[in-house]
Amino acid sequence: MSNLHLTDYLSPDVALVPTRKGFGEGLKKAGEIDVNVVAACADLTESVQMHIFREAFPNRFFEIGIAEQNLVTVGSGLAAMGKIPFVSSYAAFSPGRNWEQIKTTIALNDVPVKIIGSHAGLYTGADGATHQMLEDIALMRVMPNMVVIAPGDAVEAEKATLAMAKDPRPNYMRLAREATPVFTTDKTPFEIGQAYVLEQGQDITIIATGTMTHKALIAAQLLFKDGIDAEVVHVPTIKPLDAVTILQSVKKTGAVITVEEGQIAGGLGGAVAELLSEQLPTRLVRMGMKDHYGESGKPVELFEHFGLTTKHIALEAHQLLTSLGKQ
């Protein structure tokens, strides 16, 4: 899709940048644009790339210490007084530990705190299951008023950060630790709540979020070589879900795969299953973590072990189309 201005993402030389880096750059820009943007972190400032903001605006940065409940409730107070606080930690701890505080003092209280959960998903690798946050999309998606964002790459993460600073709602954004392929450019559009058809196809819809979208794009290329015309829908905003774009695609293809690096229960897979079962019942395969935890290992080993490589996506597509009698 030339109008989306993607990079040459199939190239082996595709740039690798962590999404947290894009967030860090975006936050500094947001701070330059709006003096009310402030930031707080729970003892992981460089790790979540908030040090860029801290260095630019030392008076608007608050070190909270290892206290995630305090992190989000201080954020609630800042937001109630007109600030736009970005509060960050690892996703395993925020929203992992402080869900109730987020619900009561941010979402129900309806103040625009921007919760940043870094090191989400399997890309957290060697740190193991305690630090691989796989349940955050589900946790945050069930919360009324909350917006849930999982950017596909670092460039999109930067745009998402700038969009969040302007959004009047409470937001959650999940980020990854590892450098991942950059498939969008400065010119690629991003709006909160919008899904994007990155590859058009007729035979099957692959819906992916976050860093898994690049894998879906590669899988579509593998399928193309097998004569299957796959459509890739990138869903950087899991809530509110862009039902229009998804339904349009599924109506055309009649077969759906969702891909995420998190629990399919309540995650993107859950969200798409809810949408389709109510509005357009369609055969659906949900790829992601299936009611189990991760473990230590290199990301590449973990994606292989849990069946989340590009080859696995292509294989699932073949199996689904075969079972539907379409090949």
């Binding site: 402030v38 008076n59 608007r60 608050f62 909270i64 210490g65 206290a67 409940q69 305090n70 409730t73 201080v74 954020g75 609630s76 107070g77 800042l78 937001a79 109630a80 007084m81 007109g82 600030k83 606080p85 109730e100 505080q101 009561t104 003092t105 129900l108 209280n109 309806d110």
Partner: protein, 285 residues
């Protein structure tokens, strides 16, 4: 707005707040009795003397902030707000009813003048820190954040995270008031999880501590004035109160923490409070 009330008038206001609390709770058929009754004097002092606020302009940009961290004590806030003119006293009877602005636990988005949504315990002090930091960034040096906390609430870890952070920033624009009534749902605080040495705990965390009789309105007003004069440290006022204060059969009885009076009990309580109203004489006249 800045009318000065005499001590006798404030005591009568506190008594009216107590009567309204009983009437509201009896009508609602559920809710908390002991905490709100014990806090009536503190809320009379806050809304009718201490706070800079304007009931006709709840979002006035120069107002002091009052956070209620122990949200289950909402009836005392609602009764004080109605008495101060934020809304009609008739609306008090909608407490906990479907469609009400007076939710069982208070919600900022429902009722103007409520500054924080609370109920789950332990969050208010941290919210006060966020607000105090924002005021400092905004160069608002003549505003204070008051935050009322329960003593049972101090079991929550979130409180002690906040207790450590506020002194780091020297947030002297935070004035905490602990409702030290010694009860919580499962019994006396000291048998559930001991809080003492409570004063020593806060002092060792870097707070300036003032200890008062929280049912003495003048003591509350004086403590808040002293607190505003403290520089470089946040202030915690430990206000010793009698749970259920004003209603004989409720006082000191932890069973009244989470119960409303039934009709008969409410009639007895109101009669007692009416009689009390006739007897109020300020010691300081």
């Amino acid at each position: 707005m800045f009318q000065k009330y005499s001590e006798l008038e404030l005591e009568q206001i506190a008594n009216t707040i107590r009567k309204d609390i009983i009437t509201m709770l009896e009508h609602a058929g559920s809710g908390h009795s002991a905490g709100p009754l014990g806090l009536a004097d503190i809320f009379a002092a806050l809304y009718f003397d201490v706070l800079r606020h304007d009931p006709k302009k709840p979002d006035w940009e120069e107002r002091d902030i009052l956070l209620l961290s122990n949200g289950h004590c909402a009836p005392v806030r609602y009764a004080a707000m109605a008495e101060a003119g934020y809304f009609s006293k008739k609306e008090l009877l909608t407490l906990r009813q479907f469609g009400t602005r007076l939710q069982g636990h208070p919600e900022r988005t429902k009722l103007a003048g409520v500054e924080n949504t609370s109920g789950p315990l332990g969050s208010g002090l941290s919210q006060a820190i966020g607000m105090a930091l924002a005021m400092r960034l905004n160069n608002q040096h003549h505003r204070w954040v008051y935050v009322v906390l329960g003593d049972g609430e101090l079991d929550e870890g979130n409180i002690w995270e906040a207790a450590m952070l506020a002194p780091k920033h020297g947030l002297h624009n935070i004035i905490g008031i602990i409702d030290r009534n010694n009860i919580q749902i499962d019994g006396p605080t000291e048998s559930v999880v001991p809080l003492e040495d409570l004063r020593g705990k806060w002092e060792s965390f870097g707070w300036h501590v003032i200890e008062i009789d929280g049912n003495n309105i003048e003591a509350v007003i004086d403590a808040c004035a002293m607190a505003r004069a403290v520089i470089e440290k946040p202030v915690m006022i430990i206000a010793h109160t009698i749970p259920g204060k004003g209603v004989d059969f409720m006082e000191y009885d932890f069973h009244w923490h989470g119960m409303p009076p039934n009709h008969e009990q409410a009639m007895i309580a109101l009669k007692e409070l009416r009689t009390l109203g006739g007897k109020i004489r300020s010691e300081h006249e």
